[in-house]
């Protein structure tokens, strides 16, 4: 070693250092953690798996879909939040939507292009659908009654409701004296000034978590408000008294740890399992 040139000696030492540290930190450390974790917290370490009738039906901390083969909500189950992970709740492609807070203009579908919905329209459409499922109003601020973002592109002589494809009736007929038109798919409205219109919707009946995708796409929880909104529908479908369903919601609500960490949350899979008597 000592006779080698300095730079080479240094790199040889570096190579050995990487090898030795890899052995300690890359092999012994994970093995030791796994050994102790498996001994002390076996259930957690293996993914908090839940069994029903001898069959694993999921993990209590990973959300799943409660929809039929066509993606429609199965009414006898509490529904999870929207998810951007693959086709929904796919742990092999976890993802958030990553859409921005001012993503309000859709690309309307044309013959050659299936278009793209803005985050605002996604929110409005989900709100409308959830409202219909639960039998309440799906109206929200900045949403049209047909469930798209209420957004105008304003030009000197006219305004265009850009998310409403013709022949839809625009959500307003006149904006500051300018006539409002429906949007022609494929036409470029980029030059207009973007004006989202709040409208006069009251506080929404559908809670925020019901209309947004989570960060992981695997959120196992819904808010207490969203669970309570769903309870009457589930009770009716199952022929159960509403009180009994609400009691179950309460039992599967995790409150803030130590009273101040995070937000109260209802575990959807565990709640549905309890309803199924599992």
């Amino acid at each position: 070693m000592e006779r080698l040139p300095g730079w080479l000696r240094q790199h040889l030492a570096a190579l050995r250092a990487v090898a030795v540290l890899t052995l300690i930190l890359g092999a012994l450390y994970p093995l030791a953690v796994t050994g102790v974790a498996q001994a002390l917290f076996n259930g957690n370490a293996n993914g908090s798996l839940i069994e029903k009738d001898g069959r694993t039906v999921g993990s209590s901390i990973i959300g799943q879909l409660f929809t039929d083969g066509d993606g429609n909500a199965i009414p006898r189950y509490f529904q999870s939040r929207p998810s951007a992970a693959g086709d929904g709740y796919d742990p092999l492609s976890t993802s958030a939507s990553n859409l921005g807070p001012e993503d309000v203009v859709d690309t309307l579908a044309t013959d050659g292009d299936e278009g793209r919905q803005s985050l605002l329209t996604l929110v409005c459409a989900r709100s409308k659908a959830a409202g219909e499922l639960e039998g309440v109003s799906g109206a929200r601020p900045y949403c049209t009654s047909d469930g798209v973002g209420a957004v105008l592109k304003v030009f000197p002589d006219r305004a265009v409701s850009v998310n409403q494809a013709c022949p839809a009736a625009p959500f307003v007929t006149v904006y500051q004296g300018l006539p409002v038109q429906c949007a022609t798919p494929g036409e470029d409205y980029a030059a207009g000034r973007t004006v989202p219109v709040r409208g006069d919707a009251p506080a929404p009946a559908v809670p925020g978590d019901a209309v947004t995708a989570s960060g992981s796409g695997l959120d196992p929880h819904v808010s207490v408000a969203y669970a309570r909104l769903q309870a009457p529908r589930v009770a009716k479908e199952r022929g159960l008294p509403l009180d009994q369903v609400l009691t179950l919601v309460g039992e599967h609500t995790t409150n803030r740890a130590l009273g101040f960490m995070g937000q109260p949350a209802v575990n959807v899979l565990e709640l549905n399992l309890a309803l199924d008597g599992g």
């Binding site: 293996n46 990553n98 900045y142 959120d219 995070g262 937000q263």
Partner: protein, 553 residues
């Protein structure tokens, strides 16, 4: 209790916990780096590595050892990824494409942990453990080593040497990071994180659908990922994934792990220079900036001022129900104030001003409190610049801790501070001027610009978080961001070590009536002011094109 009240207690409890821990941990770290004895394991390691642990190094040798170690690390991590299909525990994944492998190798060796790949579908367990997790440890230890070398520069008198890199590396890894990470990993498993060696396994869901549940040695990696301010997630969605961050209290604990070493290092600094009050002044600067940032981020996210959050009624897009908007904002502040870059919610969907705060945190140079080691050396350079500015005002040669800040020292400090702005702004400009760069935007308009600016800010400051919509697993971005990461890490390190060498060689001058006291609130205020002014002057124009244009109507 309202979310706001709970969020305030959440922040207060974190401050309290860190205040309690920073003294004993800081003292312990000072002992680790100044102790003369090597334990049996370490002696064995030094023998296997072939270095003499008691040989002191000049700054140049120290730097070359560090660079050699980092170069070999990059090659090993690159090799592990390229060959993973031929090794064991690959889960059947194909070799990682060359540009992604180069980007990832650099990313983890530079403590950035930028991820141009999706963990659950790209990296086998062997790469995760032996490649990525090892770098989580050693890249953090490298950062601490550089900080300690700089501290020695201030502490030593007329010395030609700044320490021994191999000793600092091994002690930082084995005596500081390893024990805390081990305990931390078990705490996280108790909270619900997974720790096993299985691959994806298919299950049938309650309604008869198919779901592939993933496994892996996650908890062990999560603990060091936060503790070493690394931030590279085992899974694509990082600490929002329930297997990486299962409960509301694991979320608290992960934020604690992120902040604990960076806030304890100033104590170690105070100990090692023999004036605890100097350490308090530094920690006061860090805490002032950090609290300001955490509060503002919470205010912006809870207010939810933007069209879509108003329509939703809360800024909940990209956030988990169990964390809510407030605790997500607090995590986002912690991860960008340090060089962590882990996320428990997606910054791309934050309100415009909330997203701007995450950007601004990184643009501060990650000094409040910054990455492990990197935060302290960044802050000490700011202190040097501050005494220089103050010295100009009164017309005296500035000094800090008895060391004169002359022309050579100021040149090195200025060079240090020019590196990241040059990388961030030229990188963003080049990306905006060519099609490969522009193609990466998910959102358009100012928000698309913010995505690109965020990517270069994150890479150059070795943070690693992203406005996640940006598509960066293209050859152009992998190469460009890889260059930013490597230059943004090692150029500043070389300048810091050179500064350490020149400071160590000086004999301290005795304090006189004209010496600026550097432990009083006045100095703390000066450093905070200098930091904010330097950053604002550098980055305000870029911010005006992105988040400010989007957020202010």
């Amino acid at each position: 209790m309202s979310q706001t009240a709970a969020g305030i207690i959440f922040i207060a409890s974190l401050i309290l916990a860190i205040a309690l821990v920073h003294k004993p941990l800081g003292d312990y770290m000072a002992r680790v780096y100044t102790g003369l004895r090597h334990n049996r394991v370490e002696r064995l390691v030094y023998r296997l590595v072939g270095v003499r642990p008691d040989a002191e190094q000049r700054w140049g040798v120290y730097a070359r050892s560090l660079l050699a170690f980092s170069l070999i690390s990059i090659l090993v991590v690159y090799g592990l990824q390229r060959l993973q299909d031929k090794l064991f525990l690959s889960l059947g994944f194909a070799p990682v494409p060359d540009h992604v492998a180069w980007n990832t190798a650099i990313s983890f060796v530079t403590n950035t942990n930028w991820q141009a790949y999706s963990g659950e579908s790209t990296m086998g367990h062997l790469v995760q453990m032996a490649g990525l997790a090892v770098q989580n440890f050693v890249s953090a230890a490298v950062g601490m080593a550089v900080a300690v070398a700089l501290i020695r520069g201030f502490a030593r008198r007329g010395s030609e040497t700044v320490g021994n890199f191999w000793v600092d590396l091994v002690r930082g890894s084995l005596r500081i990071l390893l024990p805390i990470a081990f305990v931390g990993a078990l705490v996280l498993v108790a909270g619900g994180l997974v720790q096993n060696f299985t691959g994806p396994h298919e299950i049938t869901t309650l309604t008869g659908g198919v779901q592939n549940l993933t496994g892996g040695p996650v908890a062990g990696q999560e603990a060091i990922k936060e503790l070493g301010t690394n931030g590279g997630g085992f899974y694509n969605t990082n600490s929002s994934h329930p297997f990486e961050n299962a409960t509301t209290w694991t979320n608290w604990f992960e934020i604690f792990l992120i902040l604990v070493i960076p806030f304890a290092l100033p104590r170690a600094f105070g100990r090692m220079v023999g004036q605890l009050r100097q350490g308090y002044a530094i920690v006061a600067v860090m805490a002032t900036l950090a609290v300001l940032s955490v509060v503002l981020l919470n205010v912006f996210e809870l207010a939810g001022n933007a069209t879509v959050p108003q329509a939703i009624g809360a800024a909940m897009e990209g956030k988990e129900v169990r964390f809510g908007a407030s605790n997500s904002a607090t995590f986002a502040a912690a991860t960008t104030l340090t060089s962590t870059g882990a996320v428990n919610s997606f910054h791309d969907s934050f309100t415009p001003l909330g997203g701007m705060m995450t950007l601004l945190n990184m643009m501060l140079g990650e000094v409040a409190p910054g990455g492990v080691g990197a935060g302290l050396y960044g802050m000490l350079i700011l202190a040097v610049i501050t005494v220089f500015v103050a010295g100009l005002m009164v017309g005296r040669t500035p000094e800090y801790l008895g060391k004169r800040i002359g022309a050579r020292e100021m040149k090195l400090a200025s060079l240090y501070f020019l590196v990241t702005p040059v990388l961030v702004l030229t990188g963003t400009a080049v990306a905006m001027a060519n099609e490969a760069g522009l193609a990466a935007m998910l959102n358009n308009g100012p928000h698309g610009f913010s995505e690109i600016l965020y990517a270069f800010t994150s890479a150059s400051n070795n943070n690693g978080s992203a406005f996640g919509g940006v598509t960066v697993n293209t050859p152009w971005y992998d190469v460009a961001l890889g260059l930013c990461m490597v230059l943004g890490r090692f150029l500043p390190i070389i300048f810091v070590l050179a500064l350490a060498g020149s400071l160590a060689a000086q004999k301290p001058v005795p304090a006189s009536a004209g010496t600026l006291p550097t432990h009083r609130p006045q100095f703390v205020g000066l450093v905070v002011g200098v930091t904010i002014i330097v950053v604002a002057l550098t980055f305000l124009p870029a911010l005006a094109l992105g988040p400010l244009a989007e957020g202010i109507h």
